[in-house]
């Protein structure tokens, strides 16, 4: 294999890795009895969050900085993909005592 060919392979591999992050994970965050757990979650851009609402009450996951606002109907699960890095404090608009943190790495 010529050095040039080798380089091309490497570049293609790198591009592939960029297009499909090998480690995109699915993370579950549960809302039950008016508590969000885990209260602190570390994730990466591209990861999927499964918001699981086990209560009979509607909840939201609303970012303080406006990055996301997800409404989860009673006994439903909603998924969303993280698109922006940052440490985001979020709460439920209907039950402001429900608070948690999402640490999103780039």
């Amino acid at each position: 294999m010529s050095p040039g060919r080798h380089l091309t392979t490497l570049v293609l591999l790198a591009l592939g890795a960029l297009a499909v992050p090998a480690h995109a994970a699915t993370i579950q965050i549960v809302m039950e009895n008016l508590v969000v757990s885990p209260a602190e979650v570390s994730a990466k851009v591209g990861d999927t969050i499964e918001w699981i609402n086990k209560d009979v009450l509607a909840h939201t996951a609303t970012a303080k900085n406006g990055d996301f606002d997800v409404t989860i109907a009673p006994k439903k699960t909603v998924t969303s993909v993280l698109s922006k890095a940052g440490t985001v404090d979020y709460f439920c608009r209907y039950h402001p005592n429900m608070k948690a943190v999402l640490k999103i790495a780039p």
Binding site: N33, L34, V56, L57, A58, P74, Y94, H95, P96, N97
Partner: protein, 173 residues
């Protein structure tokens, strides 16, 4: 305003002691009836507020109350059905309903910002009274663990409502 509020609070505390004055611990069918009645009262107050309130924040609060209390009451109905318990009317439920009907009529006469303030002040006082009744009387008296657990979830929810109401009340000043 202050006079009216203190009368309302006095009436609610009387109500708490009236409930306690019965002496005997309320039974599960009575507790279920009291809890359900307390929910219906707040739903009715919320429905009135949804049509009468002028502040956007007060309206949104009323919508939250209607949604949450309807959900909890539905859960309570499902539970009593499952447990084959028939909620039993009692003096506490009757006093609560009578008091609430009077309050609804009184609030019905108010308009605009005056109504908003009076509704929210009553929501603060009402949730306080209900939470204290749950904590000191209903939860300790409940014998079925599922009923107890539903009341405990209710308490947590209504404490949140009380804080929310206090927050809205402060913003109206």
């Amino acid at each position: 305003m202050f006079v009216r509020l203190s009368i309302a609070v006095a009436a609610l505390s009387l109500l708490g002691s009236a409930a306690l004055a019965q002496g005997a611990k309320p039974t599960d069918p009575q507790i279920a009836h009291i809890a359900y009645t307390a929910g219906v009262i707040d739903i009715n107050a919320a429905k009135q507020a949804e049509s009468k309130a002028s502040s956007k924040e007060v309206k949104a609060f009323a919508q939250d109350m209607a949604r949450d209390h309807e959900a909890v009451n539905k859960q309570a109905l499902d539970l009593v059905k499952k447990l084959k318990v028939t909620p039993e009317d009692n003096d506490t439920s009757k006093t609560l309903s009578k008091q609430a009907a009077d309050k609804l009529a009184e609030l019905g006469k108010l308009k605009g910002a005056e109504y908003d303030k009076a509704y929210i002040a009553n929501e603060v006082a009402y949730h306080k009274a209900v939470n204290s009744a749950l904590e000191t009387q209903l939860i300790p008296s409940a014998s079925n663990p599922e009923l107890k657990s539903l009341l405990q979830t209710g308490l947590k929810l209504f404490q949140g409502h009380q804080q929310h109401a206090e927050h809205v009340a402060a913003s109206l000043k």
